[in-house]
C-alpha cells in the first residue's frame, strides 16, 4: 500500500493553484499535525498486515511546517504503519522555505526523495505565477539538498505560462537539466475554474483559442497586465519539444507529464495509475482502499475537530468501474496497459468489452497495441481525455 499525507498550508496562494491549500498560523498548523496523528491511529488496525511501499507528503507547501513536527509525523507513521525498508519517501518543498537544518532533519526522519516546485527559471514568469521564490533561491535550495545527501530529486516545471516564449521555456529546461535532477515533472499550465488565472485567462482558452502573443489584457494587476497565454500551437510545440529535449538529456517520458532517468520513475505516482491501494491522510486527501474510493472532508475546522472521511465521497467500485479505471488510469503510463493483466484481473478479455473502441482508436492513430500492451501514441497523449472517455462503458 501507499500513503499520502496532505499538508494544506502555503505562504500565499498562487494564481493558478486550485489545490486545497491556504496560509495559516503556527497554532493552526500544530493542531493540524495533532489531527494527523489521530487519523494515523485510526488506521493502525485496518492497515495491520500491509506494508507501506511509498509515502508522499504533498501540499500546499509541506516544507512550511516546523521541521521537528515533520519528524514527529514520521515517528507517527512508523508507530502506526509498517514501513518497508526500501520505501520511497517523498516530500514536496518550495525553494525559499528550505534551510540546511530542515533538510538534515528530513533526511534523519527517513525522507529519501525531494520534490522541488520550481515551475520556471525565469524570474518574471515566477512573479506572474505568484511564486514566492526566485530562480537564484531555487539554486540555493537545490545545492543545500544535494549537500544534505538527497540523491533523488524531482523538479516541477510548468510550460505555457502567461508571457512565456519557446525560447524561455527551452532555457528553463536547459538550466534545470544541467543540474541533473533524477526526475522532472513538466506540466502544461491548466486554467482551473475558480482560480484567479481562470478569471483572467479563461476566456482565451474557450474552444482552445488561446490568443496570439502580444494581445494586451491590461488591468489593475501590474504583474499580469499586457501578458497573455502562448497560443495553442506554441503550447503544443512546447510540450513536444519538452519530450525531445529531455530525451536528449537522458530523461525518459514514462507518464503523460513525467520524465525520469532510468530507474528513477516515481513509484508513488505510478501506483495511482496501476491500482495500488493507498490511504490519503489529512484534509481532503483521497484514498483507494479495499475496492472503495473516498476522500476526507475539505473543511479545516471539521478536520481539526476529528472528522475524517467525507461520507458523501464514498464510492464502492463495481467491476465495471474497475475495468474502466484499468484503462483510463493505466493509459497515463507511457508503457500502456498490459492486456493480459486485464484478463487475469477480470477473467474476461479486454477485447470482449472494448474491441470496438480499441479498433476505432487504432484507426484514429491515438493508440497502438505493442508487446501485449495497449498504449497511447504521441497523438493519443495530446488528446488523452478524448481517448479515455471512450473507455467508459454505458
Amino acid at each position: 500500500m501507499e500513503l499520502y499525507l496532505h499538508i494544506p498550508f502555503c505562504v500565499k496562494k498562487c494564481g493558478y493553484c486550485d489545490f486545497l491549500s491556504f496560509p495559516a498560523d503556527a497554532g493552526v498548523q500544530r493542531r493540524y499535525v495533532e489531527a494527523l496523528f489521530r487519523e494515523m491511529e485510526q488506521w493502525k488496525e485496518p492497515c495491520r498486515g500491509y506494508e507501506v511501499s511509498t509515502v508522499f507528503v504533498g501540499g500546499g507547501t509541506p516544507s512550511l511546517l516546523e521541521a521537528e513536527w515533520m519528524a514527529e509525523i514520521f515517528d507517527g507513521i512508523r508507530q502506526n504503519f509498517c514501513l518497508a525498508g526500501e520505501a520511497e519517501i517523498t516530500i514536496e518543498a518550495n525553494p525559499g522555505t528550505l534551510t540546511r537544518k530542515k533538510l538534515d532533519i528530513y533526511k534523519h526522519a527517513g525522507i529519501n526523495r525531494l520534490s522541488l516546485g520550481l515551475q520556471s527559471s525565469d524570474n518574471r514568469e515566477l512573479a506572474v505565477l505568484g511564486r514566492i521564490h526566485t530562480w537564484e533561491q531555487f539554486l540555493e535550495s537545490y545545492r543545500l539538498a544535494r549537500e544534505s545527501g538527497f540523491q533523488n530529486i524531482n523538479v516541477d516545471l510548468m510550460s505555457a505560462l502567461p508571457g512565456q516564449s519557446m525560447a524561455s521555456w527551452l532555457c528553463t529546461l536547459r538550466r534545470v537539466t544541467e543540474l541533473e535532477p533524477e526526475h522532472i515533472s513538466a506540466y502544461s499550465l491548466i486554467l482551473e475554474e475558480g482560480t484567479p488565472f481562470y478569471e483572467r485567462y479563461g476566456h482565451q482558452e474557450e474552444k482552445g483559442n488561446r490568443v496570439p502573443d502580444g494581445l494586451s489584457l491590461a488591468d489593475g494587476n501590474e504583474a499580469l497586465s499586457g501578458i497573455s497565454l502562448p497560443d495553442e500551437d506554441t503550447e503544443r510545440e512546447m510540450y513536444h519539444r519538452t519530450e525531445e529535449f529531455l530525451k536528449g538529456c537522458g530523461y525518459e517520458r514514462y507518464e503523460i507529464s513525467n520524465y525520469a532517468k532510468k530507474g528513477r520513475e516515481c513509484r508513488h505516482n505510478t501506483g495511482y495509475w496501476t491500482g495500488v491501494p493507498y490511504l490519503g491522510l489529512g484534509l481532503g486527501a483521497a484514498s483507494l482502499w479495499e475496492g472503495r474510493r473516498f476522500s476526507n472532508v475539505r473543511e479545516l475546522s471539521g478536520y481539526l475537530n476529528g472528522r475524517t472521511t467525507d461520507r458523501d465521497s464514498l464510492q464502492i467500485l463495481t467491476e465495471q468501474d474497475r475495468q474502466e479505471e484499468f484503462f483510463y488510469l493505466g493509459l497515463r503510463m507511457v508503457r500502456g496497459v498490459p492486456l493480459a493483466q486485464f484478463e487475469e484481473q477480470f477473467r474476461r478479455q479486454a477485447e470482449e468489452i472494448y474491441s470496438g473502441v480499441i479498433q476505432k482508436h487504432i484507426r484514429d492513430g491515438t493508440v497502438i497495441v505493442e508487446d501485449g500492451c495497449l498504449r497511447l501514441t504521441s497523438l493519443g497523449m495530446d488528446v488523452s481525455n478524448y481517448v479515455m472517455a471512450d473507455f467508459l462503458q454505458g
Partner: protein, 604 residues
C-alpha cells in the same frame, strides 16, 4: 331544456389582438352566467392545455355553452366559441367565425387598435358577423377609453360610444357585455326540418369515443342514429351521441337542431375524415350543396423532423398521428436524410405552429427531436413545362432544368408608433420588403403596408420586429400569392461532404451573407476533432464561404493530484455524454442542435 327556441340562442366569439384580454373576458362570461362558481374557476377555463397556459395564448378553438338569465327575464343560451389569436391560425379562426352569428371585439383601453384587431375585424365582417366592441382594461392607469372609442369609430367604423367599458380582470361591467350579447348579436336562423347541413369548426380525438366533432347546425336536425355523411371526404357514419359543451365537459342531449352549436360522436377513428370546414349532411336525405368556405388547409412552412434516437422512428410516427387527430392543419410524410436517417417532412401553418408541435412532441411524447431549418413552399417552373411545389430544399432539381422559380409573398400590415417607423422600414427593406404605403391611425401611430417574401419572415421576423420597436410593433399578414424570384439552393459541406439536412433555399442576393453566417455558426457548434474540419457553403457547386474547425491539439488533464481521480472521471463522463448527443456524418460528429442553428442568424 329539450325545447329551445332559436331566438333564445346566441352564437358568438370574441376577437381581439393578442393580450387584449380575450381569454379573461371569456372566463368572466362563463363565471357570471353561473355555470361555475368562482371556486371552480381555474385562472383561464378555456385554455386547458398546459402549453397554452404557459405561452399565454389559445391554440385550439373550443366552445362552451352557458345559460344567461337576461334583464328581460328570459333565459338565453350562449354558445361562446373561442378562437386562436395568432396569425398562424387564421384559417382556424375563419372556421370558428363561420360557426358564429356575431362577435365581441375586445380592444385594450390603453393600447387601442392593433394589427390583429383590424385583421380579425375584417375577417369577422367577411363572415357577415355582427360585431360590437368592448373596451377592456379600463382599470389600467394608462387607459384612455374615450380615445380608443373614437379610434374604433374612425378606423373600423363601428359605433363605439356606448361600447361597454370593462375590466375583465377586475370583473367590472361584465353585465353590460352580457346584455349586449342578447341585444346586439342576432339569433340564428335555419329550418330544423330541412335536410341536415352542419359546419365542422373543430374536432378532438378521444380514445374512448373516437373523434368528437364540434359543429354548428345550419339547417336540419341531428340526433343519435342519424346516418351522416361528410361532404368533402364522403365518409359515412351512424351518430352515437350528440350534446353540448359544458365548461370543460361534454353534456349529451337528445338532438341538435338548426342554430345550435354542439358536438357529435360516431365512432370515427380518423380525424382526416372530419376536416374542419367540411359540411356534415344526412346520408339518406342530403342537402344540395356544402356550406361555403371550406378549403383544404395548406401548410405554409415545412421542416424535417427526426428522432434523435433513430430507433424511436415508429414512436415519432405514432405521436404525429395522434397530434394530427386534433390538428387538421398538421401535415407529415416520411422522408429520409443521408445525415439524419429516417424522419418526416412536416408542414405547418406557420413558425409558431411548428414550435408548438415540436414542444408537444418533446413534452407529451417525451421524444428528443432533431429539426431542420424551416422552409416555405417554392414553386419551380421547369424548362420542360413541369411545375413542382418544393417543400424540401434537398429535392431541388438541377439549376439547368429550372426555367424560373417563384416564392410565396405575403401582404403584411405592421402597426407601430411613429418613432419606430424608420427602424421598421429599415427592417422591412433588409427583408426584401416592397413598400406599399403608410396610414396614420392617429398622430402617434402608423400602419405600414408591405409586401414581404414569406421566407424572410418565417424565421425571426417577429422577434426582430419586437426588438427594433421595443415591443411596440404589431404585425399581421396574409398570403398574397407567388412571385418570380432569384432563388438558389445553398448547400453546406462539412469535411467536404454535403449535409443534406443543412441545405436551404435563399434569395440569390443574400446567399453570400447567409452562407458566411451559417459557416460561422456551425464553426461554433461543431466540436473540434482529431483532424481539421472545413465547413463550406456552396451554391451550385461553387464555394462561397468557408470556416475551419481546427483540429484538437490538446485534450489532457495533465495533473491528477494526490490520487484524487473523481474529478477526472466526471470530466470523462461529461465528454462521453456529449458524444452521445452527436450525429455522425462521415467521420464528423455534429451536435444535434447544429441542425437548428440556422434559425438564429439574425445580425442583431
Amino acid at each position: 331544456m329539450a325545447d329551445i327556441s332559436q331566438d333564445k340562442i346566441r352564437n358568438f366569439c370574441i376577437i381581439a389582438h393578442i393580450d387584449h384580454g380575450k381569454s379573461t373576458l371569456a372566463d368572466r362570461i362563463i363565471e357570471q352566467t353561473g355555470l361555475l362558481t368562482s371556486r371552480e374557476m381555474q385562472a383561464q377555463v378555456l385554455d386547458n392545455m398546459d402549453l397554452e397556459r404557459e405561452r399565454g395564448i389559445t391554440i385550439k378553438s373550443q366552445a362552451v355553452r352557458t345559460v344567461y338569465r337576461a334583464k328581460d327575464g328570459e333565459e338565453y343560451i350562449f354558445n361562446l366559441i373561442d378562437t386562436p389569436g395568432h396569425v398562424d391560425f387564421n384559417y382556424e379562426v375563419s372556421r370558428s367565425l363561420a360557426a358564429c352569428d356575431g362577435a365581441i371585439l375586445v380592444v385594450d383601453a390603453a393600447q387601442g387598435i392593433e394589427a390583429q384587431t383590424l385583421a380579425n375585424v375584417y375577417l369577422a365582417l367577411d363572415h357577415d358577423l355582427d360585431v360590437f366592441p368592448v373596451i377592456n382594461k379600463i382599470d389600467l392607469p394608462s387607459a384612455d377609453p374615450d380615445r380608443v372609442a373614437e379610434e374604433i369609430e374612425d378606423v373600423i367604423g363601428l359605433e363605439a360610444h356606448d361600447a361597454p367599458r370593462i375590466s375583465a380582470k377586475m370583473g367590472l361591467n361584465i353585465d353590460e357585455v352580457l346584455e349586449s350579447i342578447v341585444t346586439k348579436i342576432p339569433a340564428p336562423d335555419g329550418d330544423p326540418k330541412a335536410p341536415l347541413s352542419a359546419l365542422i369548426f373543430d374536432s378532438l380525438y378521444d380514445s374512448y369515443r373516437g373523434v368528437i366533432v364540434f359543429c354548428r347546425i345550419v339547417e336540419g336536425t341531428v340526433k343519435r342514429g342519424t346516418r351522416i355523411r361528410m361532404f368533402a371526404t364522403g365518409a359515412s357514419y351512424d351518430v352515437v351521441e350528440v350534446g353540448y359543451f359544458g365548461a370543460g365537459q361534454f353534456i349529451p342531449c337528445e338532438e341538435l337542431s338548426a342554430g345550435m352549436v354542439g358536438y357529435l360522436t360516431a365512432s370515427i377513428k380518423n380525424v382526416k375524415d372530419t376536416r374542419v370546414g367540411d359540411t356534415i349532411t344526412d346520408r339518406d336525405q342530403p342537402c344540395k350543396e356544402p356550406l361555403p368556405g371550406y378549403k383544404k388547409v395548406t401548410p405554409m412552412v415545412y421542416c424535417g423532423m427526426y428522432p434523435a434516437d433513430g430507433a424511436r422512428y415508429p414512436e415519432l410516427r405514432d405521436a404525429l398521428e395522434k397530434l394530427q387527430l386534433n390538428d387538421a392543419s398538421l401535415f407529415f410524410e416520411p422522408e429520409t436524410s443521408v445525415a439524419l436517417g429516417f424522419g418526416f417532412r412536416c408542414g405547418f401553418l406557420g413558425l409558431l405552429h411548428m414550435e408548438i408541435i415540436q414542444e408537444r412532441l418533446e413534452r407529451e411524447y417525451n421524444l428528443d427531436l432533431v429539426t431542420t431549418a424551416p422552409s416555405v413552399v417554392y414553386r419551380i417552373h421547369k424548362t420542360n413545362g413541369e411545375v413542382i411545389d418544393l417543400t424540401n430544399p434537398t429535392n431541388m432539381p438541377d439549376p439547368s432544368e429550372i426555367d424560373y422559380m417563384e416564392e410565396p409573398i405575403v401582404s403584411a400590415e405592421i402597426m407601430v408608433t411613429t418613432e419606430f417607423v424608420g427602424a421598421i422600414m429599415k427592417l422591412c427593406q433588409e427583408r426584401r420588403g416592397v413598400y406599399l404605403g403608410m396610414e396614420y391611425m392617429e398622430e402617434t401611430r402608423a400602419l405600414l403596408k408591405y409586401e414581404l417574401p414569406l421566407n424572410e419572415i418565417i424565421y425571426d421576423f417577429f422577434d426582430a420586429l419586437k426588438s427594433r420597436s421595443r415591443g411596440y410593433a404589431s404585425f399581421d399578414y396574409d398570403l398574397k400569392g407567388y412571385e418570380k424570384s432569384d432563388l438558389v439552393k445553398l448547400d453546406i459541406l462539412i469535411n467536404r461532404e454535403e449535409v443534406d439536412a443543412l441545405s436551404f433555399i435563399v434569395f440569390e442576393g443574400s446567399a453570400y451573407e447567409r452562407g458566411r453566417k451559417m459557416c460561422e455558426k456551425l464553426k461554433d457548434e461543431i466540436p473540434r476533432h482529431l483532424f481539421e474540419i472545413p465547413i463550406q457553403a456552396a451554391v451550385g457547386g461553387k464555394i462561397i464561404a468557408r470556416e475551419t474547425v481546427k483540429a484538437v491539439r490538446k485534450d489532457v488533464l495533465a495533473k491528477c493530484y494526490g490520487g484524487d481521480i473523481t474529478r477526472k472521471k466526471k470530466l470523462l463522463e461529461k465528454q462521453k455524454e456529449g458524444k452521445k448527443r452527436m450525429r455522425q456524418i462521415g467521420n464528423v460528429e455534429i451536435p444535434q442542435k447544429a441542425f437548428m442553428s440556422v434559425l438564429k442568424l439574425d445580425n442583431e
